[in-house]
Amino acid sequence: MLSARDIRKSFNGFAAVAGVSLDVPAHGITAVIGPNGAGKSTLFNLLTGHLRPDSGSVAFEGRDITGTAPYAICRMGIGRSFQHTNIFRKLTVFENVRAALIAHAGQSHNFWGRSAQLYGAETAQILNSLGLSDQADTVADSLSHGNQKQLELGIALASNPKLLLLDEPTAGMSATETREAIRLLERIVIERKLTLLFTEHDMDVVFSIAQKIAVLHQGRLIAEGSAMEVRANREVRRVYLGERQ
């Protein structure tokens, strides 16, 4: 569904992503793991048009999207979240999701309609599926960290994406919150028949839901495959065990 071919990106001579090729199969859950500084977020930013690769190409459903603007990539059906929660802070939870729905429906240029009368039911439905209905009128800024992450997921879902890219969806969450967030994520992926690509530092999370795992180390993929294959990979063990002990 999404495929990257030998993409590279350097910052001031430092190769953050040094030639990565990755295929994300449709209707599956793929995870990118790797130690801090491995280039996971840079890779994500390259895939979603936030950054332009120095070389290499990215294709989505067979179309080359290298260098396409983020808003256009979003309209093709790729939704994303950020590692640092990225929401409309001073708007209410309801307004956050509605703003995304308005954009998705191509209503942004409608200057004569009334926002208050639009997408009420659709917004409520998304909030309901995320368990955020009670907080619909809360200003996003005053939500708990976990709820803000869920809200960001809601914003991404409002664009009705085919492919969802989540950068560390459980970052900063407690063990309980993480478990709930993952269960929620799994349910939504199945309900909406989504393709999911996510980065994660928590190995338990990754091994519990990902069907395909890619391991990034120093800007390169060192392993790719099912949970079992990756776990058995000597290179992966060396990188991870070497770092942890």
Partner: protein
Amino acid sequence: MKADPLARRIPWAVLVFLAAACVPWLGSRFYTFLATDIAILALLAASLNLLLGYTGLVSFGHAAYFGIGAYTCAILMKSYGVSFALGLATATVAAGACALLFGAFCVRSSQIYFSMLTLAFAQIVWAICFKWNSVTGGEQGLSNVPYPNLGWMSSLPVLGGLRAGDHYYLLVLILVGLAFAVLKRIVESPFGSTLTAIRENPERAEFVGINVRRYQLAAFVVAGAFAGWAGALFGIFNRGVFPDFAHWSKSAEVLIMAIMGGIGHFWGPAVGAAILILLNQQINAYTQYWPLILGLILIILVFVFPSGVFGAVHSGLQRLRRHRHA
């Protein structure tokens, strides 16, 4: 931000409009003069707030579009004998078109660089007004801009006894009221919600599929067009147009009005315009040190009422109401 149901049911904007419409019958030429001034600058401040409060863009050059509107309408009416209606429409379109041209460059930069570019383009507009003697009258400006023909108002029963200035004031009030109604509708539209999303988080807005620059430019054009509308009205009210209209200090004045009233509310900048004009009148009667007083007011404002006068009153009322309910 839910208002008390009773307070919400009272159409405050309509009441203020009706009260303002009674000003000519107070009988003083001076009051009509002040009210016209306030009405036009309230609209100018509100148009700036579409950028400032709704889209999160700080323009240091909003007076340019005010000036373009004023000059366009005045030149057409004085030099070419064009009717007021056509002059006003052309002024609005001209200001919007210039905003489109300049804005296309400005929105390519963000934050302080955006602001600096708006200032730079405004200075160009000012310089053209100042130097293009054959068309704009240069430093002397254009005086004796004709009033629109409002003779028909004299034949109406209630309005017949009023002066020409009063007639023009009533016209201004209707046209400003109309502009406010359209502006309000715009900020409450999906387009308005999109601008608010951009203000809150341009990065996230881009990733929900919004072409951020294009919408910033659209806001810039709409704000410029409304400023042009206000400028056209002001040139006639002032009976002349001068390069000062487009000067950076005028842009600063409008910025101060908007911030003083409160950029977080639709009506804030209008309230700020009224306060600043009335204060200016009062203080000028006692002292020539208006800039000094203005500076002091600004300092107090920033430290005590960061959300502006309207914002402070609004949240004060809400606190009171909550108290009563508790």
